[in-house]
């Protein structure tokens, strides 16, 4: 009891110096939305400034190709570039993780692995343009999991996926949600 009395002024002092008493911090949704904004901007710029400008639709200096490593002027596809980024982040930190997934992945590794991922991918597919936010517990840790739509914005998205030897789906159309970016942060 005495201890508690002693602790009280200390508490007040700390609050006094440290600012707010309640734990301040950024909301998980704002955090994942911000991360997604950066990813989206980078992906768009890679498409616009590298693939469109230097690829077959532009100067034809590079060949965007799944097997880019086998070609002297091969360039990674935007989805691969995105995965390399996610893998590099996973080597740096466990504070968040992200991936580009689909219910119909050409790379089977990109299918949903958790129930919330599956629910989220289904939701963004059924509600074009909307995000999904959920919570899940994995290995005893609670996570905030957000899923953002990835859309068939150009004919090559649709043509390549529909015609890919490993695709589970062949009827993608322009403007369809093809998959989603999953961002997960521990709470």
């Amino acid at each position: 009891m005495k201890k508690l009395v002693a602790a009280l002024p200390l508490c007040l002092v700390m609050v006094g110096c440290g600012g707010e008493a309640k734990q301040s911090g950024i909301e998980p949704k704002v955090y994942t939305d911000s991360l997604f904004a950066v990813m989206k901007a980078d992906r768009t710029n890679y498409t616009k400034m590298i693939i469109k400008r230097l690829g077959p639709a532009g100067a034809s200096a590079i060949v965007p190709d799944e097997h880019w490593e086998d070609k002297p002027n091969g360039a990674p596809l935007p989805a691969q570039m995105f995965r390399y980024g996610a893998e590099a982040v996973a080597e740096m930190t466990s504070d968040f993780s992200y991936s580009l997934q689909s219910l119909w992945p050409v790379n089977s590794q990109n299918g949903p692995r958790t129930e919330v991922e599956k629910v989220g991918l289904t939701y963004i597919n059924d509600n074009p343009g909307e995000n999904f936010y959920g919570e899940e517990e994995l290995g005893g840790v609670k996570y905030f999991t957000a899923v953002y739509p990835d859309v068939a914005v150009a004919a090559p998205c649709v043509d390549c996926h529909n015609g890919h030897k490993d695709t589970p789906r062949t009827d993608f159309k322009l403007g369809d949600v093809m998959g989603g970016v999953v961002i997960r942060v521990p709470m």
Binding site: P128, G129, Y148, V153, A154, L174
Partner: protein
Amino acid sequence: MKGISVITLVLATVLSGCAEDPRLALGEEVYRQNCKVCHAQGINGAPILGNSKMWGPRLGQSHEELLSHALSGYGLMPAKGGKTHLTDEQVSNAIFYMTSQVEISN
């Protein structure tokens, strides 16, 4: 004659009071089903609905210019957003709706 103009006046007041330009409601529906998929999130840099920062510089253009861009494709936006079944009028209505949202949410 007087009666008719009074009725017209009342009708006009009622209409403008409870219903805006009918193209906006029609356009909202077109937007929801066809444009939202990119314009809600800014996919590929699509100006986000209601985001004045993204729409601002584009609003210097006339409705006709915006429409012609949306119809024939513009930058990273495919013609009609890839929804080729839409009529020009539907796309036009959607643009009226989208531009009407810019001041409202900011």
